[in-house]
């Protein structure tokens, strides 16, 4: 009886063993957690697919394993040795192919604009007669101009004929492999034809004083890769503004205890999430994605908002689903739960996917405006900083208000500056005019059910009212 790494979720087919809970001779039950796998942004507990006595452990902590890889051999066991059911992943030969090492781009809606092409198996054309690989003279000419050896390109047409599309795929693969080579050392396993990216020169910092070296965690690498990718692909613009949160701060103080009584923490973030959905509905382009492959803008009719969570290991962005359909109380509770789960790194990969817009709230730490990086394939992100009591002149009278800096970064390919400003104003107005009735908990159960339709109209009204003030 063999236990293998099951399929972990889309785009995630490998990870590092960070803890191992069984040793040889142990008895394991079916579904008992046998090891934990650190995988991009999550730590996944791996259950035993069958029960039995461990006769051999094939992995150790620190091993990089991929889907289908053998981890345990069980002997005897109470379980009837059934062949793997259809729902189980077909065991694949253990391998650490270059494909597995490549970044898995989480693309919930559609294939990412520039997905990593499947790594071609190393290929070398040979001809005893010294004949050039089968390709039209025009294709050969292009390859020559680009310095591509056609003998390395596998042709997709009959007789192995290489067409322009094959050449394009090959070049894209080379480019992606070269790009990921820096982030993933595994790229060293890429075929010999992949020109290795010149290694970044290592500086000996110990010349100037003592140093400590720590390898990058896989999460750190993933963040680095993701940020680089977003930064490279998206022309960013950041629009700053300030939101008057004096009133809602008081309300959160006032209603906070009631929430707490029911096991939820009322935070400004939850309120901002709601306000954002209101603005997103008014400006659907901020809830869209650019499909570079088809040249289409994909408008999403759902509102799944990512919330950046600061964990010990680094930034993780879990996604809260259907914000538009949930009450502030539900959001508050969910937010608390998922943030905690994320900090403990128990959040699943699925819970990190499918976001349509992201909020990064640094208010708990302090600081002023900053420039968040858009979480591709989303097109905008709202950065929130700590509100500060400031003197404000209104109607020629000096007043003191708590002003919260917000910074909206957006993809200028999709969104123009004027809309960026309008959108951030809309968010500000929605926060400032957040209806007290939505915060109040009285008769929550009855209210919840009618929430979806009602909330919208109420909010719009409220916002409009604020505007006139």
């Amino acid at each position: 009886m063999d236990i293998r790494i099951p399929r972990l979720g889309e785009g995630a087919d490998n990870g590092t063993v960070i803890s191992l809970f069984v040793k040889e001779g142990d008895k394991v039950e079916k579904n008992q957690t046998i090891l934990e796998l650190e995988n991009e942004k999550a730590v996944a507990p791996i259950p035993a697919s069958e029960g039995g006595v461990v006769s051999k452990v094939h992995v150790k902590v620190g091993d990089r394993v991929s889907v289908g890889q053998l981890v345990l051999t069980l002997s005897g066991g109470a379980s009837s040795a059934q062949p793997a059911s259809a729902s189980q992943p077909a065991p694949r030969p253990a391998q650490a192919p270059v494909q597995a090492a490549l970044p898995a781009v989480a693309a919930p809606v559609y294939a990412a604009p520039a997905p990593m092409p499947a790594a071609p198996a190393p290929f070398a054309y040979q001809s005893a007669l010294g004949i050039a690989p089968p390709a039209a003279p025009s294709v050969r000419k292009i390859a020559r101009d680009l310095g591509i050896d056609l003998g390395r390109v596998r042709g997709s047409e009959s007789g192995g004929r290489i067409v322009l599309a094959d050449l394009r795929d090959y070049i894209q693969y080379l480019q992606a492999a070269a790009f990921s080579a820096a982030a993933a050392p595994q790229a060293a396993q890429a075929p010999a034809s992949v020109p290795a990216k010149p290694a970044a020169e290592s500086i000996d910092f110990s010349k100037w004083g003592p140093v400590t070296k720590k390898p990058l965690t896989s999460l750190r690498k993933k963040i680095a890769e993701k940020m680089q990718e977003s930064w490279n692909a998206i022309p960013h613009v950041t629009q700053n503004d300030e939101v008057d949160v004096t009133d809602i701060m008081q309300w959160t103080k006032a209603y906070g205890p009631a929430y707490e009584k029911q096991g939820a923490k009322l935070t400004l973030t939850a309120l901002i999430l709601k306000a954002c959905v209101h603005a997103l509905k008014k400006f659907p382009v901020f809830n869209s994605s650019l499909d570079e492959a088809t040249g289409e803008l994909v408008f999403k009719e759902y509102y799944h908002l990512g919330v950046a969570v600061d964990t010990e290991q680094g930034l993780i962005v879990p996604v809260l689903r259907d914000i538009d359909k949930k009450s502030l109380f539900e959001i508050s509770r969910e937010l608390g739960e998922i943030a905690e789960k994320t900090r403990q790194r128990k959040v699943s990969l699925e819970e990190l996917k499918g976001g349509t817009f992201t909020i990064s709230n640094l208010g708990g730490i302090g600081g002023q405006h900053f420039t968040p990086i858009v979480n591709r394939p989303e097109v905008a992100i709202l950065g929130v900083s700590r509100g500060v009591l400031k003197p404000v002149i209104r109607s020629q009278k000096l007043d003191q208000r708590v002003l919260m800096p917000v910074s909206l970064s957006y993809d200028h390919r999709v969104i123009d500056g004027a809309d960026g400003a309008r959108f951030v104003r809309e968010i500000a107005k929605a926060i400032e005019g957040f209806p007290e009735s939505e915060i109040k908990l009285g008769g929550a159960a009855a209210k919840k059910s009618e929430e979806p339709a009602k909330a919208k109209t109420e909010k719009v009204k409220a916002a409009a009212g604020k505007g006139k003030r």
Binding site: L129, A132, P133, P134, R140, S158, G160
Partner: protein, 481 residues
């Protein structure tokens, strides 16, 4: 005298030279084309391809008229006016040569008539009728071509011992003509003279005529030669020639036996030699090999960075279309492209019937021990071939059995030279047999034989029946149309 400045000077106005000059001018270069003869076009136009094909057309008429009696068409004995035939041939050459001149003028390519001589790697001296001129060039392309080789032992200074140059002038129709060399020149001119009425003995040192072509493609040509020439002798070497009154006395070794005979004329067609001598190459860094061919790389660059060379003078197959392609490569490299010479060069022999091939030949694959599958479609099964009574043809594909890619095409038969280009396209495009079989070919044409041979590969050619697939031995084409 101030030297003339130019971007590119091209030396020689044959199919390599004028192609280079025109292409360079089209790419915006200032070009001077230097030609020692008054008439442009080089050997191809003046003493090669064009005059020989003109004469072959004339003699084909004689032959067809003669052989039409059984078709119910009878002509009288043809009267041949050699002078008129020559001037007809000249008129065609004149027309084509004039065409090149006017194309040059329209491109503002300056033509300078005179011998060119390299003073150094940047200067060409030209001996023109108006005196010496000096050209200072950025790049030079040498395209001086080749001339018929005449071994010293045969060079008696007797006009009855001819090369192709003289033979194409057809001063007279000799009664007994010896042709030394069984290559394409000897066979093409032999065909002309045989039809005009000469008794031809053709001798070849090797054991077969048309070395280089697959034996099965040569067979119909050999058959024709055996029928229309007095004799074809292989493994035969000419040992000595001497003037004997109005004839030439020839001593030869025919497969070990000595023979002494008298001929009215002798055509020596034993190969061609590069015209690279007397160009002043010693004043440059250009290197030549032991046979006098200029050494070039795949970019047509000589050892001298400012000098390129194309065509017959660099060796390889001595064919006009090879020269023209090399010319384009040279110009592209000069203008900064990354071109290399990698094209396959089709060969055509304008015998009767014609032989043409391109890509890998069956013999070459066998020699290199590479497994290939061949399919052969005999023209006896081609309706079109039967309409003009020429079933003596065959279309052959050389195929990679693994990928089914077409590696080579060989054709023997009437008009093979026109048919071969489809094979070139198929090979250059990396086509498979199935690609060729899927293309509809018009009926009734000879081009169908290409499609049908491709179908034969799969064992389902319409006009051929094969008991076991993929084995050409068992394919038995049937007459039908």
């Amino acid at each position: 005298m101030n030297p003339i400045q130019t971007d590119i000077v091209v030396l020689g106005a044959g199919p390599g030279g004028y192609a280079a000059a025109f292409y360079a001018a089209d790419k915006g270069k200032k070009v001077i084309l230097v030609e020692r003869e008054n008439r442009l076009g080089g050997v191809c136009l003046n003493r090669g391809c064009i005059p020989s094909k003109t004469l072959l057309h004339g003699t084909k008429l004689i032959k067809e008229a003669r052989e039409s009696e059984f078709r119910g068409i009878t002509f009288g004995e043809p009267k041949i006016d050699l002078a008129k035939m020559r001037s007809w041939k000249e008129s065609i050459i004149e027309k084509l040569s004039g065409g090149i001149r006017s194309l040059a003028a329209r491109r503002s390519v300056e033509i300078m008539t005179g011998r060119g001589y390299f003073e150094d790697s940047k200067t060409l001296r030209v001996e023109t009728a108006e005196g010496q001129k000096f050209i200072q060039f950025d790049k030079a392309i040498i395209a001086v071509g080749s001339k018929p080789a005449m071994p010293a032992a045969f060079d008696l200074g007797n006009p009855r011992i001819m090369t192709s140059t003289e033979a194409l002038e057809i001063e007279e129709i000799p009664q007994d003509l010896l042709i030394v060399g069984g290559g394409y020149i000897g066979l093409e001119l032999g065909t002309v003279y045989a039809t005009l009425g000469s008794r031809i003995v053709l001798v070849e040192a090797m054991d077969a005529i048309l070395a280089g072509a697959d034996p099965d493609l040569v067979r119909p040509v050999a058959k024709y030669a055996h029928e229309h020439f007095k004799e074809v002798r292989v493994k035969t070497k000419v040992l000595k020639m001497a003037t004997h009154k109005k004839q030439i006395q020839v001593v030869m070794d025919v497969d070990g036996q000595k023979k002494e005979e008298l001929y009215d004329r002798v055509l020596v067609s034993v190969g061609r030699a590069s015209n690279s001598a007397d160009l002043g190459l010693k004043n440059t860094k250009v290197q030549v090999d032991e046979k006098g061919f200029i050494k070039v790389n795949e970019h047509q660059q000589t050892s001298d960075e400012s000098i390129y060379a194309v065509g017959d003078c660099v060796g390889g197959v001595l064919l006009a279309h090879k020269a023209s392609k090399e010319a384009r490569i040279a110009v592209e490299v000069i203008t900064g492209e990354t071109s290399v010479f990698e094209s396959l060069i089709p060969a055509v022999v304008f015998t009767d019937p014609e032989v043409a091939w391109c890509g890998v030949t069956e013999s070459e694959a066998r020699k290199k021990g590479v497994a290939v599958t061949t399919v052969k479609f005999p023209w006896g099964a081609s309706g079109r071939a039967l309409t003009f009574d020429r079933p003596d043809g065959m279309t052959k594909l050389v195929v990679d059995p693994e990928t089914e890619r077409i590696l080579g095409v060989g054709i023997v038969g009437h008009g093979a030279g026109e048919l071969i280009s489809e094979g070139v396209l198929a090979i250059e495009m990396g086509a498979t047999v199935s690609d060729l079989a899927s293309c509809v070919h018009p009926h009734p044409t000879l081009s169908e034989t290409l499609m049908e041979s491709a179908e034969m590969f799969f064992g389902h050619a319409t006009h051929s029946f094969s008991r076991s697939q993929h084995k050409e031995e068992s394919a038995e084409p049937q007459h039908a149309s």
